[in-house]
């Protein structure tokens, strides 16, 4: 959420900045002008603000408070200071969950972004029919849990159609969700399948915003398609790619539903991603204080990841300027 608002705010900020630069001494006037807009702005922001306060801010603050307590949901929380956090540091399952999550994010984002970029290019250049473009989005229109269950059954070891085909080809069956090596890659693949169309659509929108004259100049200069891609498309696509990466990486870190309806964290701890671990602590073991502390740590990590991505990939600047 924060990154989205930042994205939206920035162009406006830049516009004012450049206007201020052009008018020179008019800088102060524009500040008072902006202050004059504040009242009316508050009116427009208020409804969203209300939702933000009730559904994000207050629960977040309460979550942070609970992370310093021992709280079993039935009964009152008791303040225990930093104990949850010190326990987390020596909690092997937490570190395992982080490693598993990072592995998932790497596989998920890596494949998803590359495939989505390819699809977006195809949509941009080749597949102009709305039907085909729409079809790419279909997996995203199916609910997460349904997608997970669908693949869960198709990839079942004994009765799944995929393993029937594999064994028909004379290859050994694969325990997609059951083996430690395959569980995370399989879950990552299922989510790539679901999200690639949507991600492609976002990138496709970015591609459309690249002015065609840049391409014309490139072709006049005799640049090869590969060269055009790396020297024009990619640099000009960067702000959109950064936004897409920030949003998908955050979403990817929060993977839960697919794991919850398929492996449930197993085999052993091979797919116990951080959200699954938080859920297990809170709702299975009724340890809400500890789960809150885990959530706070995840929150901090995600904020850092978003910050680093924005900072180093310069997501708020465009080479078009």
């Amino acid at each position: 959420m924060t990154t989205l608002t930042k994205q939206q705010r920035d162009p406006a900020g830049r516009a004012t900045r450049s206007r201020a630069g052009k008018t020179g001494s008019g800088g102060r006037k524009s500040i008072t002008h902006r202050m004059g807009d504040l009242k009316i702005a508050m009116v427009f922001i208020f409804p969203a603000m209300l939702g933000f306060v009730f559904f994000f801010l207050i629960p977040t603050i309460r979550g942070v408070y609970l992370s310093f307590t021992e709280y079993s949901i039935l009964g009152d929380p008791t303040w225990i200071g930093l104990k949850n956090y010190t326990t987390i540091f020596s909690d092997e399952l937490f570190w395992n969950a982080m490693a598993v999550t990072v592995q998932y994010v790497g596989l998920n984002i890596g494949f998803q972004t590359v495939i989505a970029l390819g699809l977006a290019l195809l949509m941009h250049r080749v597949a102009k029919s709305t039907f085909i473009r729409g079809a790419l989005l279909l997996p995203f229109l199916v609910a997460n849990v349904i997608v997970a269950l669908l693949w869960f059954w198709m990839l079942d070891y004994q009765l799944g159609i995929v393993n029937e085909v594999i064994s028909w080809l004379g290859l050994p069956r694969i325990a997609f969700f059951g083996s430690e090596q395959w569980a995370i890659p399989t879950i990552a693949f299922v989510n790539v399948w679901r999200h690639m169309g949507y991600t492609a659509l976002l990138i496709f929108a970015g591609l459309q915003s690249i002015p065609s004259h840049v391409y014309e100049v490139a072709s006049l200069d005799g640049a090869s398609p590969t060269r055009t891609f790396w020297s024009i498309t990619m640099p000009l696509l960067r702000p959109v790619m950064v936004l897409v990466l920030v949003v998908t990486v955050i979403g990817s870190f929060q993977v839960f539903d697919t794991v919850a309806v398929t492996t449930g964290g197993g085999p052993i701890n091979a797919s116990r991603v951080i959200q699954m671990y938080i859920y297990q602590k809170a709702f299975t073991e009724s340890d809400f204080g500890y789960a809150s502390a885990l959530s706070v740590i995840l929150f901090v990590i995600l904020a850092l990841v978003a910050f680093v991505q924005m900072k180093f990939l310069k997501g708020n600047e465009s080479d078009l300027d």
Binding site: L38, L155, Y157, Q158, L159, P267, I268, Q280, F283, D287
Partner: protein, 446 residues
Amino acid sequence: MKKSLGVAAAAAVIALSLSACGGSAPASTEAKGEINYWLWDANQLPAYQQCADDFTKANPDIKVKITQRGWDDYWTTLTNGFVSGTAPDVFTDHLAKYPEFASKKQLLSLDDAVKNDNVKLDIYNKGLSDLWVGQDGKRYGLPKDWDTIAMFYNKKLVADAGYTEEQLKGLDWNPKDGGSYEKAIAHLTVDKNGKRGDEAGFDKNNVAVYGLGLENSGSGDGQTQWSFLSATMGWTHTDKNPWGTKFNFDDPKFQETIAWWAGLADKGYMPKLETTVGASVSDNFGAGKAAINTGGSWMIGQYTSYKGVETGIAPTPKGPDGKRASMFNGLADSIWAGTKNPAASVKWVEYLASTACQDVVAGKAVVFPAITTSSDKAADAFKAKGVDVSAFTTQVKDGTTFLFPIADKAAKVAGIMKPAMDAVLSGKKPASSLTEANDQVNALFK
């Protein structure tokens, strides 16, 4: 800016007051109104709907609304309901769960009701009603049914292997070589080329039919997976039951049992753990992928319903002590402490625990009701459907049952034991690694 701060402050105040007013209306003392009742087993829903209809006929002022939820959702929804005040008035309760609810004061004690309404506790099968007396000496449930463990077998596969059903009912087991139990399992296993598990040239990596099906590692209780074996070694889960505070997963007797059991997967007689994620163990049985499955009596309906598969039921094998063993588990109906209608709830629970309702349940042949006479009726009802359930009842008759381990912190124990057992069963760790898990479990009670 000041104004907006004021608005924010007002909003915060509203939020605080909203969260503070979770109070409930005063409880009614009259036995009337609508009460909510939850259960998780869809197979039992028709039976209990019948009970509810009969109950309302006898008590026109009370309506019972039944909600069925799958096992996994059941407990989280219930816990959330306790907090948000939307939990059902009466619900089906499990031995693994009620100690925690009782210690968090979420259950209504039934002692007064039992005393005032003169509920007889000796009509239930022996031991069942005592299971529901908490650590504080108060009663939190009235027994509704019980279950034991037996072996479901595919009659055709057994006949093909040259085993008679009588042989299957008289197996014995020991952790050294598995006894005639392992011999049968090995012989019932068939690979892709038609070679049996005990024949030369058996390909353990290409098995078509497993001798023994596998559900999962059984976590810390092993109810249907291994507890019927470990108990014949004289092993118990905890130092005492109910309310044990020291677990015995470090006992060599237990680890020996598990090592033998995990070895079956290694020999190719039982599916590997990794292959069990997905289709249920009973569906694999129904698809003819396993010859024998160990399971609980609540699965009788499921196992006998597969088309094209004739299912027989044999009792669990005799162990080194010369006796069989089966975990004995019982469900009960409990009342939520936050009910707005305790009087009607008590009445409904008493009705559920009476012969009137349990005979109805018996007639549907889905489970064994807690009342002794109703249990016999259920056995007859099963027989009328062509199912011989003596493999389950014999354990009770011969007194070879032992109680489901009742202890506090069951969820946390499972949180440690499930991955630990998974690791052993999948061959990632030796059975001796359970000693470390046991230390972690016992540390919970310090």
